[in-house]
Amino acid sequence: MKPSLQPKELSPAGMSMLNRRSFLKHSSTALGSMALAGLLANDGLLGAPIRPEILPDRPYAPRKTHFPAKAKQVLLIYCTGAVSHVDTFDYKPELYKRHDTPLPGAVNTFQGENGNLIRPLWDFHPRGNCGKMTSDLLPELGSLADDVAYVHSLTSKTNTHGPGETYMSTGFILEGFPSMGAWTSYALGTENENLPAFVSIPDPRGNPQASVNNWSNAFLPAQFQGTPFSASKEIRNLQAPARFRGKADRDGRDLLKFFNESHLQRFPGDSELAARIAGYELAARMQTSIPEVTDLSDEPDYVLKEYAADDPKNQSRAGFGKNCILARRLLERGVRFVQLFNGSYAMGEGVGNWDGHKSIKAQYPGHAHILDQPAAALIRDLKRRGLLNDVLVVWCTEFGRMPTFQKGASGRDHNPAGFTAWMAGAGVNAPYTFGATDEFGWKAEKDVLSLHDFHATILHLLGLDHERLSYYHNGIERRLTDVHGHVVSDLIA
């Protein structure tokens, strides 16, 4: 009789290693943390870092929060290129009065000199029952005002896109730090282990400017990096080369499993070997679960229409609409953190994203048309399906734009001194408006927030203490919030 390809059961020792609750492989980290915990306790300083307990064979298993969470999942809608707040959500009547007059105390900004103040290029109207003033540029998103907490007083530390995007995503201007989604999946794992814990959906027009840094794990273990894919671009290496598919793939897997398990029997105490066997099995499951989630063919026509995913005239809009549907499908299936991009670097300044230097009036309607209906449909759909009870929605951009036009142009230059983001959904105090810029919309003036405060608040909603969610790296307990950040309790329901 020929030997069968049926793999043998794992040995008892192998199983016991596989199931061991503690996994202290990276002793440097683990022991470092113990030493630190002791130190902190001795010195009566901070609360000690809380280390998530990561199972070697189930790195994505759901993990405990630090305290009861208001939100379980995150949808981050990231409009790249710097959306002009004074033309969208931050209503500044003074700009009408002072239209075409100089901005007092004007300075040079990113591209040089500035011209006069310019009134909002789209009119503002009250929206919802709360009567929040938002502009006609994004009427559909504006109509959600009753569910939204607006933050008008955000500030950034840089006026350059790449570092700015990186700062919004990682809390640092320098590259090389973990992104918000990576921190979240490191801390919390995910509710569906057959899908990645953190998915990043790039715009159909291409990747954002800071590209991979927006979903980087940096020094966190690689399991926690975001997996980039979209409705039109599948995840890398999901399918084998043609002649290795189907039965050939299964036979190969079986033989591999046999070799690996007989190898493990020689070294039953090695949990890493068992984890790698489990990793192959997870990969096999992903090969079916990911195509299932990205295949939108079971979505009814009315849904496609609502999300503008069927727009025959505008491929970018239809593509973004499909990405919005994909985002909902991922959240429905329990993915912890979904980062949805609107805007790409692909076609350069102002064409593929919100970077309106030259002619905002001409550029923005195109971007708004792509964003507005699909994104609003997504949030409404989440609400209708009850998902907003669990999902925190965050809308953001890397910084704002000046209330002036640039000298010799009809567009606005970069402005990190004050800009707008907003939140909706699980745990959010809505309707609400927090903070304010000065009368021109130039500098944040009331309740000024750093991005660290913004990040601290997001982590808090997820049940995580931003000061205790840390990772030891090169002598420092690194955090999403660096050494700053205060939770903004007013934003929390």
Binding site: S27, L31, P163, A222, E234, N237, D249, E272, A283, N474
Partner: protein, 945 residues
């Protein structure tokens, strides 16, 4: 007994250290430190070696610790295990079958001699430097690009990588190695290696487009300070940037004192590297052309001034003020900020289109053209790479201030806690401050308690997977104390006694029983309880191979690995060792990054060994491991029987013979594979343009490929234009190639013109040009130049790309795309820089239409017309230009329209159809490849036990 003696010695030395020095400095400065801080292990002097050891001292110290927990070393490994371990460890590759046999034979005579000889052989191999350089490059956050969106390639950073490899192979004393990197320019700026070494201070990320010059320079200096502390001193100093360190006795003032050693630096961009005769040639060229270049400059002056004004205006007011000061009135710090502005001014000036600027003024235009002609009449400018180096801006130090409520100036000093006299600093005769040299001298002083411990610990860490101090970049209170403090000190002394030579440490460590014990030992109950982490080394720690080891071992086992001794970095698809693979921060090699190779954003002292589903998907499905498996199958397929083939495969991959069960299983796997094979499917039927009159040439995967025997000589600039339609793209990563003139080898010059497919590493449907040519260093390199223009399928488009190769290093490709079916569609353009400066003659290669010489990368669609012009043409002469001006005489090298009888056109112009190439692999060899793939991706291949 011995331990007590050590404690006594330690106390003695500590006392000596604490109290004898400070005649000048009072003990007051230490008054604010607690006793615990003063007793910090890492700053205590290194205890001297006083014992006579009966055997290997490493074993003495390790056994001592094991005995204290009633544990013991595992039995010694056998020869197969040992040679595999030692080879991977020292040279990063598995041993060949022949080497294994020779070693086991020698082992039978005398294991000790066999080991000694093996280690000497491995240490003498140039591959040793290639392997150990990776460890150093990780620590110094080496990468070859700027980071951020532009992620500009640092085309001569590879010289630093080669310097590290060379230094390790030479067994350069570590103290010298350190001095060169921190202050090579202050010691001997004429010495090539000394200068290249200073690249260390320059490897951090850099955003070219940052306007906040002050903040950016601060970030750069902080990065430099942090990495210096981490790499050489094992101090994570970052915390002290904003306040006194919370956990370590490092004051905020200490941080900035350390920074002040470094803070006068700048990164010169005008220093060419070359052999003396090359440099001389360049000097001659500069002298000969001086006058004409001056005249050109005079012509360009006003436009350059205007350009400068525009850029400078984008900076904050205070920076502008500095910029317009007289250079001699600027402080060094101001000069540094001005240099940051200068970089952006220069960047913008490289984008000036001079022809356009002079177009309006005929007289100027003529002058400009004449001067350029005159310049061209000289021999061409010798193109030499620019050095990626660091030096001081002047002998006047940049002042350093401690930020905070009360801003205080600070000067070069060592940690306050150490209470050392202020360093003596003298400016050098090379125009530098001498500050970095003072730092380097302190770091490499044999008395320095930190630096030797740090490097010795790193060496230990790489041999055993974890250091005696497990936090190799942090010897502070947040890190771990050493598991074997006496051993750490012993090794530190040993290093100094052996002239700081790292190879002496390798010999000592690798000949110990501790290193020689087996990894194939299950933990005893006692070991699991007492030391689950195996910190005391009751067995040799089993390990997963590192990213580089995995990639290199696959290439080695498949028989494809090629040697390369230094030079420009290569693409990950090339068969060279991983240390030579291009390290771009934001587009790292996928295989290497998936297996935890760091991206180079910060000093990385240890590799994580993660297990991810990404790795599993990559190993199972990515074409790269499959290609290795196919090569391996081809290598072994020639054996006389399947059984012997299988045995050879196992031996080659695992370094051991296959078991009977493995052979039978493999045999049945191969049989199943062959039974599964359906008869080869015909290629899918193609869409035809039935009913329509033929006005174009159809190009599909199964049409015979079309080529012209002799290609076209293109010179230094050319334009390729086509009116064409692409109907569908490949489901994999093949390029839909419309035109090409390339053999397919990354070592041979060539080009292709096409659009990417679904799984391209660039976006799908991306209009690209592949160029294989020489870079400024004269190496042949392969580049994919992607336009980021995504071309819709099924429509007729105009596509054009103009290539300009500039020997001075400012080469670019200009892409143009216009949708010809949509009325009023706009012309889309992209101008992409690249670093290929010359294309060696490619005219002998065939010119392919609708594919490549290597097959596979077919175009699926049609073509109506194409034209190749050289030199490049301007927009107004393009095929779609309204005024339809023909290019200048002689510019069009080939112009084919397929509007009527396309086949006739081909025949008339010398194109031949080519028969499809023979399939290279048989079902038998594919089956074998599938087996090799399983083996190359199995745990036994990926782990070292």
């Amino acid at each position: 007994m011995a331990r007590i003696f050590y404690i006594f010695l330690a106390t003695l030395f500590a006392n000596h250290f604490l109290f004898s020095k400070s005649a000048t400095q009072s003990e007051d400065v230490r008054a604010n430190f607690s006793e615990r801080e003063k007793a910090w292990w890492a700053i205590q002097p290194i205890r001297k070696n006083t014992l006579n050891f009966p055997a290997n001292p490493v074993d003495y110290f390790v056994q001592e610790k094991l005995e204290s927990k009633e544990l013991e070393l595992s039995p010694q490994a056998g020869p197969y295990e040992f040679i595999r371990r030692a080879s991977f460890d020292l040279i990063g590759l598995p041993p060949s079958e022949g080497e294994t046999k020779a070693f086991t034979d020698s082992w039978k005579k005398n294991p000790e001699t066999a080991k000694k000889e093996l280690i000497e052989k491995l240490l003498a191999s140039p591959a040793y430097g290639e392997r150990w350089a990776t460890h150093w490059l990780d620590v110094v956050r080496f990468a070859e690009s700027d980071g951020y969106r532009a992620d500009d390639f640092r085309s001569s950073a590879y010289l630093y990588r080669d310097y590290v490899i060379r230094s390790l192979n030479q067994d350069k004393p570590y103290d010298q190695f350190v001095r060169e990197q921190l202050a090579g320019d202050e010691i001997d700026p004429k010495n090539f290696d000394h200068m290249i070494a200073t690249g260390f201070l320059r490897h951090g990320v850099y955003e070219w487009n940052q306007r906040n010059a002050r903040m950016q320079w601060e970030l750069i200096l902080n990065e430099m300070t942090n990495v210096t502390g981490e790499v050489f001193l094992g101090l994570g100093m970052g915390c002290a940037q904003c306040h006194d360190h919370k956990f370590d006795p490092i004051l905020q003032k200490d941080y900035y004192s350390m920074q002040s050693f470094l803070s006068s630096v700048w990164w010169p961009e005008d220093q060419n590297i070359g052999k003396p005769d090359q440099l001389l040639k360049l000097q001659q060229w500069e002298a000969e052309t001086f006058e004409v270049r001056e005249k050109l400059m005079e012509l360009k002056k006003d436009i350059l001034k205007g350009n400068e004004r525009i850029v400078v205006k984008q900076f904050p007011a205070d920076i502008q003020e500095m910029y317009y000061k007289k250079p001699e009135e600027r402080t060094t710090h101001e000069q540094q900020l001005v240099e940051m502005v200068n970089r952006q001014v220069r960047h913008k000036s490289t984008r000036i289109k001079w022809e356009e600027k002079f177009k309006k003024n005929e007289e100027l235009k003529k002058k400009y053209d004449d001067l350029n002609l005159e310049l061209a009449s000289f021999s061409p400018k010798p193109s030499l790479p620019q050095a990626f180096i660091t030096t001081d801006l002047s002998v006047r130090p940049a002042r350093t201030f401690v930020p905070g409520k009360k801003i205080q100036e600070t000067f070069p000093e060592f940690l306050t806690l150490l209470n050392l006299p202020s360093p003596k600093i003298e400016e050098t005769k090379h125009g530098t401050t001498g500050r970095r040299l003072a730092l380097a001298n302190w770091i490499t002083s044999p008395d320095n308690p930190l630096s030797t411990r740090v490097i010795v610990n790193r060496v230990w860490q790489k041999h055993f997977g974890q250091g005696l101090v497990t936090t190799a970049n942090d010897f502070g209170f947040l890190g771990e104390p050493p598991t074997h403090p006496a051993l750490l000190d012993f090794l530190s002394n040993y290093l100094i006694q052996n002239d700081w030579k790292l190879k002496s440490l390798h010999r000592l460590i690798m000949l110990s029983d501790t290193y020689g014990q087996t990894a194939r030992q299950e933990p005893s109950d006692k070991a699991s309880l007492q030391d689950p982490q195996n910190q005391l080394l009751w067995r040799f720690p089993p390990r997963r191979l590192s990213a580089e080891q995995i990639r290199d071992a696959m290439l080695f086992t498949s028989g494809e690995l090629k040697t390369k001794s230094g030079g420009s970095s290569v693409d990950g698809n090339s068969p060279h060792r991983s240390v030579y693979v291009k390290k771009r921060r934001n587009s790292p090699d996928r295989i290497l990054s998936a297996f935890d190779a760091p991206a180079g954003f910060s000093s990385s002292s240890e590799r994580l060994d993660t297990t991810t589903s990404t790795q599993a998907l990559l190993l199972r499905n990515n074409p790269w491991p499959h290609a290795r498996a196919q090569a391996m199958a081809n290598k072994f397929a020639k054996s006389e029987s399947t059984k012997s083939t299988i045995s050879k495969i196992f031996k080659s991959a695992y370094g051991r013979p296959a078991t009977q069960a493995e052979i039978e299983l493999s045999q049945s796997f191969l049989d199943q594979w062959l039974n599964n094979q359906e008869p080869n499917k015909e290629p899918q039927a193609i869409e035809t343009t039935t009913g329509k009159s033929i006005d174009s040439l159809s190009l599909y995967e199964n049409t015979p490929r079309i080529y012209k025997k002799k290609g076209i000589e293109l010179g230094t600039s050319w334009t390729i234009e086509a009116i064409t339609r692409l109907d569908h793209i490949h489901a994999n990563a093949y390029v839909n190639t419309l035109l090409s003139q390339w053999s397919g080898s990354h070592q041979k010059a060539g080009w292709t013109f096409g659009i990417t497919s679904a799984k391209s590493a660039y976006e799908p449907r991306n209009f690209i040009m592949q160029l294989i040519g020489e870079n400024i260093g004269g190496d042949t390199i392969y580049r994919v130049i992607d336009s980021n223009l995504q071309i819709p399928l099924g429509k007729t488009h105009y596509l054009s790309c103009s290539v300009t190769l500039n020997p001075k290093g400012d080469s670019y490709v200009h892409f143009v795309w216009k949708d010809l079916e949509t009325p009023d569609s706009k012309v889309q353009e992209a101008r992409i820089k690249h670093d290929i400066i010359a294309l060696q003659s490619v005219s002998s290669d065939k010119l392919f239409l609708g594919g490549r010489s290597t097959g596979q990368h077919f175009w699926n669609g049609n073509i109506k017309r194409f034209r190749i012009s050289s030199p490049a043409i301007s927009q107004e002469h393009s095929l779609i230009s309204k005024n339809n001006k023909a290019p200048d005489q002689g510019a069009a090298k080939l112009d084919l329209s397929f509007a009527k009888s396309p086949n006739q056109v081909l025949q008339d112009t010398g194109f031949l159809p080519r028969t499809t190439p023979q399939k290279t692999s048989s079902p038998q060899s594919e089956a074998l490849a599938a087996l090799c793939h399983v083996i190359l991706t199995s745990n036994e291949f990926l782990y070292l036990h």
